[in-house]
Subunit: 138 residues, 2 copies
DNA sequence: GTATTTGCAAAGTTTTTGCACGTGG
DNA sequence: CCACGTGCAAAAACTTTGCAAATAC
């Protein structure tokens, strides 16, 4: 039995097809809103409801099996917890650059430590402009 | 005529009482959701509608007279553009620590530059745990 | 067997929009 | 004057909830 299945059980939850499908969809999509997860799951099976997607995403997030961040102004975006990373989100073209946890921690760690603050790097999104949009902005 | 009034005019917009009231409310409140701004404006005058608050906040944000960030998972929070700062948001107690632009830029600037990315420091929120909540978490 | 989970439908919250009226310049 | 801005009400977008039926274990 895989690790995530044990984590579910350990926390007193049950293993259902819906939970498998949602987790698989998040891993497939990389970054996705609840709606996109729903659409992806639907491609494989009719057997799921949007409310279940919301409930499942929330549960998986609580268990630390997935993470969520806010890549756009509206709608949370979920992603696999596997490789923890932060995002640089371009407001111009809406593309996102992923930055490994290590480099972000190197940059932000010292400042955060000054305030006794422990950042959640998997949730971090830095908004701004990417190189090409910054150039076009002039 | 004050600077913000000229900026309105310069961009072809009109100076209305509603716009004055919304801007004043944001400056008074420090950080506020659209709903909170609406409530604050209402304390001074009945003469405003919630849609107008939304439209006005959007306009002032576009003109750079105010900024918005996402301090909670749901609902944008507006604040004065005067002293540009970033936020450290505690997920435990929901308190926020403000960090001046200079120190945040010192930390994040080099990493961002590697990616040719120009961060929007006034919009940046770093989620995580403050010292006391991190301690309580064990 | 039974406590958890799901589907469904309904309601809740937050934000946006169309349009006629009002008003700043 | 008249283009821009506002109020109002309705709709849209997104998320949560109650409950009976289904199901994991």
């Amino acid at each position: 039995m895989s690790d995530w299945q044990e984590r579910l059980r350990a926390s007193g939850h049950r293993l259902t097809p819906q939970r498998e499908l949602v987790l698989a969809a998040v891993e497939t999509l990389g970054h996705a809103t609840p709606d996109e997860v729903y659409a992806e799951v639907r491609r494989h099976s009719e057997a799921i409801n949007l409310s279940t997607v919301y409930r499942t995403l929330e549960l998986l997030d609580e268990l630390g099996l997935i993470r969520h961040a806010h890549l756009t102004d509206r709608a949370p975006t979920y992603h696999s917890a596997g490789h923890e990373h932060s995002h640089l989100v371009c407001r111009g073209c809406h593309r996102t650059i992923s930055v490994g946890r290590a480099s972000m921690e190197g940059a932000l760690g010292p400042l955060a430590a000054e305030h006794g603050f422990v950042p959640d790097y998997g949730h971090l999104s830095v908004f701004g402009l990417c190189a090409s949009c910054a150039a076009a902005d002039h």
